[in-house]
Symmetry: C2
Subunit: 334 residues, 2 copies
Amino acid sequence: MQINDNFYMKLAIDEAWKYQLLTYPNPAVGCVVVKKGELLAIEAHKEAGKPHAEVNALKAAFLKKHPNDCIKAISDSFKIHEYLINNHNNFFQDCTIYVTLEPCNHIGKTPSCAHLLKRLKPKKVVIAHKDINNIAKGGIETLKSENIDVSLGCMQKEAYELLYPFIQWSKGTFIFYKMAQTLNGSIDGQISSNQAKAYVHALRDKIDVLLIGGNTVRVDKPTLDARYVAGRAPNIFIYSKNKIFDNTIPLFKIPNREVIISDDLFKLLDYKFVMVEGIYHLMNALKEKIDYFILLVSPKIRNGINALNELNIDFEIVHENYIGEEKIIFLKRK
Amino acid sequence: MQINDNFYMKLAIDEAWKYQLLTYPNPAVGCVVVKKGELLAIEAHKEAGKPHAEVNALKAAFLKKHPNDCIKAISDSFKIHEYLINNHNNFFQDCTIYVTLEPCNHIGKTPSCAHLLKRLKPKKVVIAHKDINNIAKGGIETLKSENIDVSLGCMQKEAYELLYPFIQWSKGTFIFYKMAQTLNGSIDGQISSNQAKAYVHALRDKIDVLLIGGNTVRVDKPTLDARYVAGRAPNIFIYSKNKIFDNTIPLFKIPNREVIISDDLFKLLDYKFVMVEGIYHLMNALKEKIDYFILLVSPKIRNGINALNELNIDFEIVHENYIGEEKIIFLKRK
């Protein structure tokens, strides 16, 4: 196997995918630090408001060589920036930084990564994809102004796939469909493990609205909250022509939750980040609008039907991971 | 992400999985070389008779730092050994070698890796799993006799899974079932890409015998060769009570092929490496005997049935890879 820029960038991309969608409204970003050939850090941005991938990776790299340094206890982005600027002692000058997205150039919830890198002066910054955010972009120019060697375009296609949800919700709406099935495609009964359910709840905690079918609400009487991660219960969009529901159904009991009952799917475009569960009969109508299918696959064979059999769709697997013993597969329509 | 011994061993394990089953009768083995923290090589054993993982990795590591060295042109195992022993110039003395299986201690089709390492004197050899082969084992003692630091047991569980087919065929018979399906579990019609078919043919080229059902032979009239990889057509075991077949069916026309027609499945135990295709009605009877299910998954949704629906099996995913745009999943019964 070739150990080159692509290899290190792939490590950064794979690390970022672990937090895909969970960084909303930020993009998922990964970063790798290599010092004189030695791999020091593989980190990612994990959640909006928390340190960017570069900051996590620079801190981890510094710590790898100074294991008892007091930076260990610093978690606030501004403070890590400040600490590294004051204490780097040219540590990064023989480092190559691999980052999946152009370092941000502006001060938002966290300070600018491009300006931090400008001060730390790494030997080289390898960037997979240019920033598409008008506010944050310009990082490359900032780095170049300090004569830092910048390379752009390594693993660009893979980085684009990583960035894709961010691109969609930045310019409009990102809609994904979540489904759990067994290996042989059965969707009947209890399928997912608690670990997979916790992941779904982590997603629910982040989304703007959850689309669900009226029939599912009437039959399953779900709660649709994020209790497995002690998270925020999402707002609910019930797709239903009949607007009358039994208001003792648990989902209506959640405080501070908005519930929309509508049969106008165009209203979904008022939101930026939408998750769809169930409503298989709508899949054919929705399929052109759905950006991702997220399939949770439990490695077992069970007798049962697959609700999607009537569809005829070709996908590209954009990524996949394990969630415990199960699989999560991110699919995009071809 | 932690960058530690487990991280490097995982790179070795994943590389080895790319050649899983294709190394028959040898085990799949991976090897990583790290020199003063710098990752120099990730290699694997690719085919019986070709260099072992350690040899491929040591050569690649040496080449990484001596890109124009004439070792580049040497592919024979004995010659690589000889060249490295004469020209290493203490290159490996600050290297850590990660290897998924204890280096072999005997001279077979290729020379002993333990004796090569003994001469190259790396700083440390990290081994995931002890050799189970009575002829080849003893590598650790050989290394220790030269005062090389040896660590055993890093990622042992994962290395055991990698070694599992070898363990099975070494002591008896390894049987795997190969199936192709769409995402939603349909097995109808043409499913796999040419790339996935080439992989199946590469497997057919290695196996001792291919088990197939009589009905499939009568209806599909298959050839069951390995033409996609210009490989050896495997011997065929047709499971059938009725021993009469139309001998114009292509599979009977292949020269130098043995065809057994029998309804005695115990005869399979005369072979070491058996692949099963089709015969879904036998799956339930066979399920206790099958070591691996190998599932080729094409990322598309199609209307169709899944022939395994009547089974009720829990699996562990032991590994998976991409074959082009498709997936290959290695499953073991829980």
